[in-house]
Symmetry: C2
Subunit: 228 residues, 2 copies
DNA sequence: AATCCGCTTTGACTCAGGTCAAGGTGGGAG
DNA sequence: CTCCCACCTTGACCTGAGTCAAAGCGGATT
């Protein structure tokens, strides 16, 4: 896949003036990272925009005691590190290669020129940031107003819908990672999965989980009921 | 203050083509709300962008059991309800007049045309959304990785810096509201304030709080120490 | 096949913080 | 002045979830 094709396949760059794609291709730098390699750290000076080409990238916060809260897990086509572009200059969180991955990098100044030159790019960017805000608002609600079983139920239902609502989902992250995503720790997650199994809400088989009582899971996710 | 002057004073609209201000003035609608009046609710269809003119507006999430998590308290010049403009169509949270207030409203379609017509507006909007994301990332970190005393300490330090670092701050919200802002409840907040007083970290006098041991508060805010 | 190592599960314990209920306290209305 | 109501504080209690420690359980390596 050529660089131009790669860029054309990125949703953020859809609907641009054709010459913008060329400009973007000219200023892009391709970088590769190994699994677990740090891409940038919270507080680092943001030098530009990143876009995942292949593999997965984890964006996360870390507490002094080592607990991690995952903010996003991004895959091919997803931009990241945008916040440092438009406000302040520093990254608000850490970014790490979740698997071996390739990333396109667009230097700040040149990318800013592209945005000024093509309103579509700005509008696409606004859409991306809005989606992030929406997701964050949801995460804040979950962390502040729901208990772990509720968050887990919400996440499972989300996965199930994304995969076509078959009622069967496959975790693409380890359970430890899932705990980080839900704002808890592996032990607690494990207990809750066990409890949900015992109640017949779900059936767990390694990374594969079958949702057996959607109704009940939904009421859990809404915080309307609790796990006994 | 004329409508044009009001609009010219909004940071979001700084640096636009002059005729944009006129367009904005033409499409703007002024609305007034009484204290506690609902401006919009989570899930409502978003019809446009709001900007606070006077008074304060509270943006918040609500749990089924009635606990509230405040996301923002906005004052004059702050835009809100933007997420529904650029992604999905529904508001992700509730908005309520925190005091009697006036709000400018820009209908979605007309405002979208303004954005397409003037890159500066799009860029200003990107800056606004980025700041919001940064703030949310911080709130997520606080909720997930810090305990209530740490969040409170961070908030007090934040206020103190914003007011010039004098070490004396005045709460402009009730303690109950502050609890909602910190993701806890009034009782817990009250206990922690009492404990901090007892330790000599702060001195409370109604809505006025004096920070007496900045060092210690900072280490609390970083999650490096705990409140005994 | 044997070893190892990372992930996961389970149990026992602790504790931050939420719930419920009972007073304080202070400012505005009559 | 005093009554009231909304806000705040305090106490007793409970529970969700984190910590620590000890096994399971595979999959990969040799």
């Amino acid at each position: 896949m050529t660089l131009a094709e790669t860029i054309a396949a990125i949703p953020l760059f859809e609907g641009l003036f054709p010459q913008q794609n060329e400009t973007l291709a000219r200023i892009a730098r391709k970088m590769t990272f190994c699994r677990e390699e740090r891409i940038f750290s919270e507080g680092d000076d943001g030098r530009g925009l990143h876009v995942v080409v292949s593999g997965r990238v984890k964006i996360f916060k870390l507490s002094p005691s080592g607990k991690e809260q995952i903010l996003h897990i991004f895959g091919p086509g997803d931009p990241f590190g945008e916040i440092a572009l438009f406000s302040g200059r520093t990254y608000p969180a850490h970014a790490e290669a979740h698997s071996d991955c390739q990333v396109l990098f667009f230097p700040r100044r040149e990318f800013a020129e592209c945005i000024a030159a093509d309103p579509s790019l700005a509008i696409n960017m606004l859409a991306v940031l809005s989606q992030r805000l929406r997701k964050f608002a949801q995460l804040i609600e979950d962390l502040s107003l729901k208990e772990v079983p509720g968050r887990l139920a919400a996440y499972l239902l989300f996965l199930s819908r994304r995969e076509g609502g078959s009622g069967k989902v496959t975790l693409e992250v380890t359970k430890g990672q899932l705990a980080g995503l839900l704002g808890t720790i592996p032990e607690t997650l494990s207990r809750i999965l066990a409890k949900m199994s015992r109640q017949g809400l779900i059936e767990v088989n390694g990374a594969c989980i079958e949702l057996r009582q959607i109704e009940e899971l939904e009421s859990l996710a809404q915080g309307e009921s609790r796990l006994v």
